[in-house]
């Protein structure tokens, strides 16, 4: 027994130390990576792009290619221009005659040939991936609009750090090479209609690949349009009704003819000062009723007289610490803080598009410190359709000082009463999460059916345990084993829907800092699973998830059961109660430790969360990871052959997080008076959740229902068995067992006339 105990402690310590080693190894590899980056160009030195350090000047320096490896996306280019345009790009040139001068200078422009454009995703779009941060991507596109190179410079996707090998991401982005800027790409099997092209996803990183697809294709389209590869497509122009009344500011604001956009300092990574970073109002002026209300009759007529056909005027007034005119407010410059976007088209403004706006005629207009009228000159723009005013900001990371592109927009759509025939029908693109749900609808149905089946089975546990006995538990075991198999095969390996402590940490952070439903909805199985977990924990406790539904927990206990059946039973052991009572606190410490660390560094918490072997088991595969992870997971599964659920009982931070609210579960397991002195249930409790006083610790209970089977078993439950024997001996009938776990009492009925 002593030997077994020593082995158990050794095995558990070994598992934890293996994990510690693997995390340390990971940290070391990152250290060495960082070192490499300091000494070499980012392209040469950084094998992994997770949180790869990028130069602070990257977003501002005109010489983009001095900071990023443009040659990686344009290997045959000899020269890259400084940043151009808005959004910015660089031109890639090849020397017509291969004659670089000895001193390193290139030949003059006439001897070069334009071969394409290189651009950085964060200069163009602001699309976050699963981590909430953008995947910084460098792209190359030739002069025909064909994508010739894509390279991820930096990402913050935890799954690609500790789960899926980063090579998968490299493989994924290679699929964009050869596609054209106007191609419609879809993740997975493409729809038959609409000319979509399907590209392969990365299993387990759906959100990352969907966002990266948007990033690459949106950037390519934007630059292709800007450099003239994609020609502007005219939109049907708006025809205005003869509404001529003049309205107050408040009336225009209330009906949506004036829109409001506010950006706070915290939105751009600055300290809050109590004053908005920018607080602006804007509206469309060509519609007579709005234009006259804002500018007054005379000014409106003057402006309209100046505008040519297909030219449109908007006004902007603003207050705040920042200026919407930005540094481009110089003659010949571009206004680099604002633009108008409509569907995939965007419209920027130059100084020639600017007109002074001295006052607002509409009554009740607010004071403002900055104002302007801008003119949109394009047939691609139409006031009949929704458009957005975009404020382009730079978000600063306080820790690193790096700036990332961030845009803030507000939609504007002219009221139907100002348009002849009203607003046209606009079919808006479905949100990404909805596309994911639709594409996996049958799997979602099957998954939900399994969850409902489990809940229904457990809700009817009383019926099941009454039909079972200590020697024949099939009424409980068969559905439970079926659920285990579905959980391991379909939910775990198939859908990769293994809940994890990292999701709990993400919840905490989202709740406190920024809640994004899209983030949670983007993984339908995890979303549904968590709904199930939250409800079931408060109704029955954590045992239903941990004991019946958790893919890893099911796998672990299945190993234990199978080992027992194939002859290893004699080696199987249960840790003694003293040891168990001490070790069970470990998981709570791990959970609180992870939570505390996450407030200081989410990245570190993600790494430490590798104590969960879930990614290795289900997401990546035992043999697809580096050996410390494989060894750790194999050790835990190996240990599971000899003792029941060692990880669930002592290490699982998710189990600890769910155990705490289990304190408030609504419906617990039943107990009898005699349970305080009888230890029959405790002796057979695989979870070791019943103490010497017979009290069930529901935080530790996996709801295996063995004690409930005993509760109704008149051949196994000592008090019930005793009563059975007494009744048989006394010749009394064995009445049905009531909900309290006793035979229904027999009361003698007084015979008629006894009193007389």
């Amino acid at each position: 027994m002593v030997l077994i105990r020593r082995y158990f402690i050794f095995a558990l310590c070994f598992s934890v130390s293996v994990l510690g080693f693997s995390v340390a190894a990971l940290a070391d590899s990152e250290k060495s990576t960082d070192h490499a980056v300091q000494e070499h160009h980012p392209s040469e030195g950084h094998p992994g792009s997770y949180e790869a350090p990028l130069p602070v000047e990257l977003s501002t320096n005109p010489d983009l290619c001095a900071y990023v490896p443009c040659h990686d996306v344009f290997p045959n280019a000899d020269y890259f221009s400084p940043r151009k345009g808005r959004p910015s790009y660089v031109e890639a040139y090849r020397n017509k005659k291969h004659g670089q001068l000895e001193n390193g200078h290139h030949e003059d422009a006439d001897s070069r040939e334009l071969i394409g454009y290189a651009f950085l995703s964060t200069d163009i779009v602001d699309i976050p991936a699963y981590s909430g941060k953008p995947v910084v991507t460098l792209m190359g596109m030739d002069v025909t609009g064909k994508i010739v190179g894509v390279k991820v410079l930096r990402h913050s996707e935890p799954i690609l750090l500790v789960g899926i090998p980063e090579g998968e991401l490299t493989k994924f982005i290679k699929q964009f090479v050869g596609k054209y800027a106007w191609d419609k790409l879809e993740i997975g099997k493409a729809r038959a209609e609409g000319g979509y092209i399907g590209i392969d996803a990365i299993s387990g990183a759906t959100v990352t690949v969907i966002s990266e697809n948007q990033v690459v294709m949106r950037c390519a389209y934007e630059i292709a349009k800007q450099v003239g590869i994609i020609k502007a497509v005219p939109r049907p122009q708006a025809k205005f009704t003869s509404v001529l009344a003049q309205y107050s500011w408040d009336a225009l604001l209330a009906e949506g003819s004036i829109q409001h956009l506010m950006v706070s300092p915290s939105d751009v990574g600055m300290n809050n000062t109590g004053k908005p970073y920018i607080d602006l109002y804007f509206g469309y002026l060509n519609a007579p009723a709005i234009g006259r209300s804002i500018l007054g009759e005379r000014n409106y007529d003057g402006l309209m007289a100046e505008l040519k056909p297909n030219e449109h005027a908007i006004f902007i007034i603003a207050n705040g610490a920042a200026s919407f005119k930005g540094s481009g407010f110089v003659r010949g410059g571009i206004y680099d803080r604002i633009q108008v976007s409509q569907d995939m088209d965007s419209f920027t403004f130059r100084d020639t598009d600017y007109r002074n706006l001295y006052s607002i005629k509409a009554t009740g207009a607010p004071e403002f410190s900055e104002s302007a009228i801008f003119i949109i000159r394009s047939t691609s723009y139409s006031a009949a359709y929704p458009w957005s005013l975009v404020f382009l900001g730079n978000k600063m990371d306080k820790q690193t000082g790096t700036k990332t592109f961030a845009n803030f927009d507000r939609e504007y759509w002219l009221q139907g009463r100002y348009l002849e025939g009203g607003r046209p029908v606009v079919v808006k693109a479905e949100p990404v999460w909805l596309k994911i749900w639709k594409s996996r609808i049958w799997q979602i149905v099957a998954f939900t059916a399994i969850l409902i089946f489990t809940a229904v089975i457990y809700a009817n546990r009383d019926w099941l345990v009454r039909r079972s006995s200590r020697k024949d538990k099939r009424w409980v075991s068969i559905p439970k084993y079926a659920i285990w198999l579905a959980s391991i095969g379909f939910i775990g390996f198939g859908l990769m829907a293994q809940p994890s402590i990292t999701q709990v940490l993400t919840w905490f952070h989202s709740m406190l800092f920024q809640w994004k439903w899209e983030l949670f909805l983007s993984d339908p199985f995890i979303f549904i699973f968590w709904l199930f977990i939250i409800i079931s924990v408060f109704v029955w406790g954590r045992g239903l998830f941990c004991g019946w539904m958790c893919p890893f927990g099911s796998l672990s206990e299945l190993f234990y059961k199978i080992a027992g059946k194939i002859g290893l039973k004699r080696f199987q052991f249960t840790p003694n109660s003293v040891l168990h009572e001490r070790l069970k606190w470990l998981k709570y410490g791990i959970f609180w430790g992870l939570l505390a660390v996450s407030f200081f560094s989410m990245g570190l918490a993600e790494k430490l969360a590798e104590i969960e072997p879930f990614k290795t088991t289900f997401l990546v595969g035992l043999f697809n990871r580096s050996w410390p992870y494989t060894l750790f997971t194999a050790s835990l599964l190996g240990l599971s052959l000899f003792t029941e659920r060692p990880f669930c009982k002592y290490l699982c931070p998710l189990g600890a997080a769910l155990a705490m609210p289990t304190t408030f579960r609504w419906f617990g397991l039943k107990r009898k008076q005699e349970c305080t002195t009888c230890s029959a249930c405790a002796a057979g409790c695989g979870s070791l959740a019943i103490d010497k006083q017979g009290v069930i610790d529901h935080r530790e209970c996996m709801l295996c229902l063995d004690c409930m089977i005993l509760y109704y078993d008149d051949h196994a439950c000592p008090p019930l068995s005793k009563e059975r024997k007494l009744r048989v001996k006394s010749g009394l009938p064995l009445t049905p067992i009531n909900a309290a776990g006793y035979y229904i009492p027999i009361y003698p009925v007084p015979l008629k006339g006894t009193d007389e």
Binding site: S266, G269, M270, N271, N272, G274, K398, M511, L512, F513, A596, F599, F600, A659, M660, P661, T662, T663, F664, W666, F667, G668, D697, R699
Partner: protein
């Protein structure tokens, strides 16, 4: 640590309707009891001081003068104190559905879970309300 004052249901366990709900709410927000006060004056006094400090911390946090780590720090400190004091003064927790009137003696882990979870919910609600009202300036 064993409960020292009483192990039974709270005095209001038999109350019904709104009265019972009010008692419940007060019970969640007020960890002390008269009985506990008489027995543990030192702890109670320290608790009052801590309560004042906590209120000041909330005020500072709301006005943007306190960092996230400081708020988390006092939240943790207050929660630990509340666990200790509740084990002395109100050593019971609800057993079964929230609408039920069944209580059970609380062990250490019961109380840790109850206090931590309750304070987490209270903290999250306050945090979200203050932030949506624009009063919380500490989060970037």
């Amino acid at each position: 640590m064993k409960p020292t004052i009483h192990d039974n249901n709270p005095s209001y366990a038999e109350a019904t309707g709104i009265k019972w709900l009010v008692y419940e709410m007060v019970d969640h927000l007020w960890p002390w009891s008269k009985e506990g006060w008489r027995h543990h004056k030192a702890i109670q006094t320290a608790g009052l001081a801590l309560a004042v400090a906590a209120t000041v911390a909330w005020g500072l946090a709301a006005s943007g003068k306190l960092g996230a780590s400081a708020v988390i720090g006092w939240w943790l400190g207050w929660s630990i104190y509340e666990i200790v004091i509740r084990l002395q003064c109100k050593p019971y927790i609800k057993d079964g559905p929230w609408w039920g009137h069944h209580y059970r003696p609380a062990g250490r882990m019961d109380m840790i879970c109850y206090v931590m979870f309750k304070n987490l919910l209270i903290g999250a609600v306050l945090f979200i309300v203050l932030r949506n009202l624009g009063l919380l300036q500490m989060v970037n």
